[in-house]
């Protein structure tokens, strides 16, 4: 570990002399080589090598084969269902998340801290448990499912059931993204707006909401990304009918059961690429929005 204890005086004093471009700043702390070595080795073994395997495998089918796999009726229907329901769920969570964050931050009521803690339940509850619990509630025999049936809605074993599970799984992402920003919102800005005669609603629309928008977008994006890949809480309530209520992750499982590794990898790779594309797109929008807000 000789390279670890670089001279701490390197920066101070002395005439500046030409030096090779350094890829790291000097530090008197030890352990850089060891900790970075462990990090990169572990990262490679657990994340990078497996993902490279995922990226390579589909192409044994050839470009045409991959295209045929992904445009196969059943696969296309599943991808379409997963991505569109996830988007709808994330949008509804924008409303629900804002509402819950607002209530938790702006009102004081008995049980507020309990409600606050429970928001994280979808993170803490194993997904399979959430899946069978939601199914028990929303199945035609369950209390909420029976209620919905009276007004003519089929909840479990339909796209609506999948939608409910995706809203469940995404809710905490939005609340936890918006809540801290709402809490730290500069009170003086709101006061200034009030002094200038803005009504409550004007202040919300023109002052509070623009300040929350970047956090809201990032929360919604996280909820969307999580929903696209979600499996455990969805498979039980979905009913899993081909072409109708079959989600993309389930299709990967089915293809693996048929030993169609390349096909499974093609669907997996498509999911990874589409969700990363969506994440990058939304991050760009958010960046532009933040830049506009600063001006």
């Amino acid at each position: 570990m000789t390279d670890l204890s670089l001279n701490p005086n390197a920066k101070a004093g002395g005439a500046p002399r030409p030096r090779l471009v350094r890829w790291r700043e000097p530090s008197i702390l030890p352990g850089f080589g060891l900790s970075l070595g462990v990090t990169i080795t572990y990262l490679s073994v657990i994340v990078l090598i497996p993902l490279i395997g995922l990226a390579i495998r589909p192409w044994e089918l050839g470009l045409a084969g991959v295209w045929r796999t992904l445009t196969d009726e059943r696969v296309a229907a599943a991808l379409n269902l997963s991505f569109s329901l996830s988007a709808y769920a994330a949008l509804l969570n924008a409303v629900f998340g804002l509402l819950i964050a607002w209530v938790l931050v702006r009102y004081d009521f008995p049980g507020r801290r309990l409600l606050d803690a429970i928001v994280d339940m979808p993170f803490a509850l194993p997904t399979a448990v959430a899946g069978i619990a939601l199914t028990a509630l929303y199945a035609p025999t369950g209390p909420l499912g029976a209620l919905a049936e009276k007004v003519g809605l089929k909840t479990a074993y339909s796209p609506l059931g999948i939608f409910i599970a995706l809203v469940f799984i995404g809710l905490p992402f939005v609340v936890r993204a918006v809540q801290p920003v709402l809490q730290d919102l500069d009170r003086e800005v709101e006061e200034a707006a009030q002094t200038l005669g803005a009504s409550d609603w004007q202040r919300i629309v023109h002052v509070v909401f623009p300040a929350l928008a970047p956090a809201l977008i990032s929360g919604v994006t996280l909820a969307f990304a999580r929903a696209v890949g979600e499996y455990g809480s969805v498979v039980f309530i979905a009913g899993n009918m081909p072409m109708k209520t079959e989600i993309a992750p389930l299709l990967i499982v089915i293809k693996l059961e048929q030993y169609d590794y390349a096909g499974a990898a093609a669907v997996g790779l498509a999911m990874v690429i589409i969700s990363f594309g969506a994440l990058i797109l939304i991050n760009t929008v958010q960046l532009l929005l933040a830049r506009r807000g600063r001006r």
């Binding site: 790291r24 700043e25 530090s27 008197i28 702390l29 030890p30 352990g31 850089f32 970075l36 462990v38 990169i40 572990y42 994340v47 990078l48 497996p50 993902l51 995922l54 509402l99 209530v103 931050v105 702006r106 009102y107 004081d108 409600l115 803690a117 429970i118 928001v119 339940m121 979808p122 993170f123 803490a124 509850l125 194993p126 997904t127 399979a128 448990v129 069978i132 619990a133 028990a136 509630l137 909420l144 809203v167 919102l185 709101e190 006061e191 409550d200 990304a225 696209v228 890949g229 979600e230 499996y231 993309a248 992750p249 990967i252 499982v253 693996l256 030993y259 590794y261 499974a264 997996g268």
Partner: protein, 282 residues
Amino acid sequence: MSAAAAPTVRLPGIAPLLLLGAVAIMGGLIILPLLAVFHDAFAKGLQAFFAALKEPDALAAIRLTLLVAAISVPLNAVFGVAAAWAIAKFEFKGKSLLLTLIDLPFSISPVVSGLVWVLLFGAQGFFGEWLMDHDLKIIFALPGLVLATILVTFPFVARELIPLMQDQGSDEEAAALTLGAGGFTTFWKITLPNIRWALLYGVLLCNARAMGEFGAVSVVSGHIRGETNTLPLHVEVLYNDYEYVGAFAAASILASLGLLTLILKTALEWRHAGELGARRRH
């Protein structure tokens, strides 16, 4: 926390309505399902509940779940500390790329996190034949379950520690080193006490996910009863066999684990707010 008397927007007129809406959403989506688990677990009485948990398959599933977590969580904790040390204490090129890569597993579907291991080590995977020739089993066995769990829970500890250690800087460590302490002593006596609550917080979340993971583990397990079924998979198998009391009894154990995690997590946020990463301070 919430504003005292200052004139922030509060919409007093519709406050009860908003509050009711929030409670209804949380009730229908979170609280009622949780109650349903316990209700259905005890639907046929205490005796049926305990009988379901005393079954050999259920006990084997509980043991396997504990074993998988006992291997995966410490490995990810050690990695988290190492990654946080490298990233928070040093300046080097490519750091933001490294941070992105560490967060990567969070944006991958759990099913894909299981799939990648099958592609490597499954019967028709890259190393499938070699493993078969040497009589080694990874998929449909413990190593596969551990690998899938590690991948899914990979970022938990690291992402708790990195922001905290970045906030804390390295002045204290530098002082200790200047006074002649060795590198290991400095870490043990200075850094570790500074990060212990955040480390515990990360381990707590990592463990909850490791024990409750379903999708990734489901792909690599093969669902062999009594052998490769973790507790969440045991729930699935029983549920699909219409053994609802058994399924919900096992689920209630997992739900209790979730509740316990939530309680400990909230306690840490309240009591040690200053010693957790900034975004954990409520």
